[in-house]
Amino acid sequence: MLITKTAQAGSTVKSDVLITVSPSETPGIHLELKSKDVILKQFGKQIEKVIMDKVKELGADNVNIRAEDKGALDYTIRARVQAALERASN
């Protein structure tokens, strides 16, 4: 999957996450996760893993991913990541 432009999926309402993806000049997957402290402390690693797993599953590389989390559950995060990547890839 080739990321060619900037795209978004999701929202910043409660229980959702806003995923913004864009092509990266440096190789690899560059993830920036924002959420409330109370969530990051208890679920930060898990959320990062869910995002990274999805990106790898879809075969995207050289990509910046910014996740603005509002307490989304894993299935929501996966769906938003996939939607953003697909929007950014054609």
């Binding site: 109370v38 969530i39 989390d69 894993d74």
Partner: protein, 522 residues
């Protein structure tokens, strides 16, 4: 040593004293002794009206190390703490213990006074999320904060455990001889329940008012016999700040489903009947339960005995519709409640002690049938946390939570199973405010768990169509949705002591390891 909810406690806590471990919700009842009161009697001809807060602080001889109290119903609209503390700080008095009822974001400047050692101790029934709560969690206070329930605070005052040197009481209306009422004036807030014990037991009492009226300030709620001095200021507060919580019925479909399940449960358990008494919190879901209960009372033509609590216009409407004969009020939450308290003799005020103090000949909570409560967390032993977030940061306090849970015949916790990504039902709560032995049922959108201690309810509802499940099952459901949270690392430093309503220690708040900051060096 471990207390009765399994919390490990030291024998002694620096800055607090000897630890009396929580031994069970009803272990503290029996013979009690109230403190003797020291006062300076007032002979005819003496005036009480002073020119300024500064003069009052001189007159009461406020000194380093004293305990000053600020009972308030103005919540996030309170201007009294800030005004008095600014004068105290300017005078160079330090090492004070603030015995508040509520701390809200409006009191943010306390953080500076805490850092400067002007304030070294703080106790309250509720500490709203905000700068002060964070500063306490980070251990900035020299002594651990003490959290007491609405009944526990007046109990501590009346027993002498919490001795108040000077009480500063915000008075929406006062006369020059110290009579106070809360129903008139531009900062009218209704009942003045929380300040009754302060007025009766503090060595010195200063009334601070922005509405000085000709003698007498009828209808008098706190009378001249308790008040030393009267000071006028431009504003004691903004009554719009009272409504700082969520005070409308939720529109969230999940909250509405919880409310509907809770009301059906209460009904099937046999509690919707003539003479019933009822209280609910002011959170959106709790109010939605009230709306559902009202519907069922009307359908069944039930006339209740009383509704109690922090009172909203919604409860006032129910009384006026004939659904309750009376209302007991410890805090008016909106203008409609204030007007009703002022005008309707069936809308009865009550002191904090009458409301929830276990060391009396019967607090009002003992007469409660149904109590609807929220939870920040609840564990599989039904212990409830309303003190800290799951990250260990202070964001609340018991308020009347553990008083009403202990007194009522049916205490119902209503909460979403998960909030955002956070599981609410857990194997262990971060901080215990209310012991599981006083909690009867948990209602979530995914199911209802009856406390196994209530075998009578389990039998009564055995053929119910309600989704009854063991609480462990709810915990598993929550964790399946959110994942299992990583544990928050805590230091050994105790930043707050959580007293149960009887004065025993039910839990402590320890400083989370990664909150940063450190205790200022003195």
């Amino acid at each position: 040593m471990k207390n009765a909810v399994g919390v490990e406690l030291p024998e002694f806590i620096e800055g607090y004293g000897v630890v009396k471990p929580f031994a069970g919700a009803f272990a503290g009842y029996g013979q009690v002794q109230k403190a003797a009161v020291r006062l300076e009697s007032v002979q005819p001809g003496k005036t009480k009206l002073l020119r300024s807060i500064d003069e009052a602080i001189e007159k009461v001889n406020l000194r380093d190390g004293m305990t000053i109290s600020f009972p308030s119903h103005l919540r996030n609209g309170d201007h009294v703490i800030n005004q008095v503390m600014a004068v105290i700080a300017a005078k160079g008095i330090k090492d004070l213990h603030i015995a508040a009822t509520h701390i809200f974001p409006i009191h943010e400047l306390l953080v500076d006074y805490i850092k400067r050692g002007i304030v070294t101790g703080l106790s309250a029934s509720y500490i709203s999320p905000g700068a002060v709560a964070k500063a306490i969690t980070k251990g900035y206070l020299k002594n651990p904060a003490v959290l007491r329930s609405h009944g526990g605070r007046p109990r501590a005052i009346e027993s002498g455990e919490l001795h108040i040197d000077v009480a500063f009481i915000g008075a929406p209306t006062a006369d020059a001889y110290g009579n106070i009422n809360g129903v008139q004036g531009k900062a009218a807030c209704g009942t003045l329940s929380y300040g009754i014990a302060d007025a009766q037991y503090a060595d010195k009492v200063v009334a601070i008012t922005d509405n000085l009226v000709p003698y007498p300030a009828c209808p008098i709620e706190i009378s001249q016999e308790y008040v030393d001095y009267v000071v006028t200021v431009d504003s004691i507060g903004d009554p719009h700040g009272i409504v700082s919580g969520t005070l409308s019925v939720t529109k969230d479909p999940v909250g509405l489903r919880i409310a509907s399940l809770a009301a059906q449960f209460i009904d099937e358990a046999g509690y919707i009947k003539d003479g019933m008494s009822f209280q609910s919190g002011a959170g959106g879901t709790s109010l939605a339960v009230t709306a559902e209960v009202r519907k069922r009372m009307k359908e069944k033509n039930v006339i209740g005995s009383f509704a109690a609590g922090g009172v909203t216009g919604f409860i006032v409407d129910m009384m006026n519709e004939g659904l309750f004969r009376s209302v007991f009020d410890v805090q008016c939450f909106d203008l409609k409640a204030i007007a009703s308290y002022r005008d309707n003799p069936r809308h009865q005020g009550m002191s904090g002690s009458l409301y929830g103090n276990p060391n009396t000949k019967g607090a009002l909570v003992n007469n409660l049938d149904i109590m609807i409560l929220g939870a920040t967390e609840i564990d599989t032993e039904f212990n409830v946390n309303v003190i800290t977030g799951s990250d260990g940061v202070i964001m609340g306090g018991s308020g009347g939570h553990n008083d009403t849970a202990a007194g009522s015949k049916l205490s119902v916790i209503v909460t979403n199973l998960i909030k955002g990504r956070l599981p609410i039902v857990k194997s262990k709560v971060t901080t215990v405010a209310t012991p599981g032995e006083t909690v009867d049922v948990l209602v979530t959108e995914h199911g209802i768990a009856i406390n196994p201690r209530r075998s009578d309810l389990i039998v009564k509802l055995k053929d119910s169509s309600l989704p009854l499940v063991p609480i462990e099952k709810l915990k598993e459901m929550a964790e399946r949705l959110t994942g299992i949270p990583e544990p928050i690392p805590f230091s050994d430093e105790i930043v707050a002591v959580v007293e149960y309503r009887d004065g025993s220690i039910i839990d402590v708040v320890k400083k989370p390891l990664d909150t940063g900051g450190c205790k200022p060096r003195n």
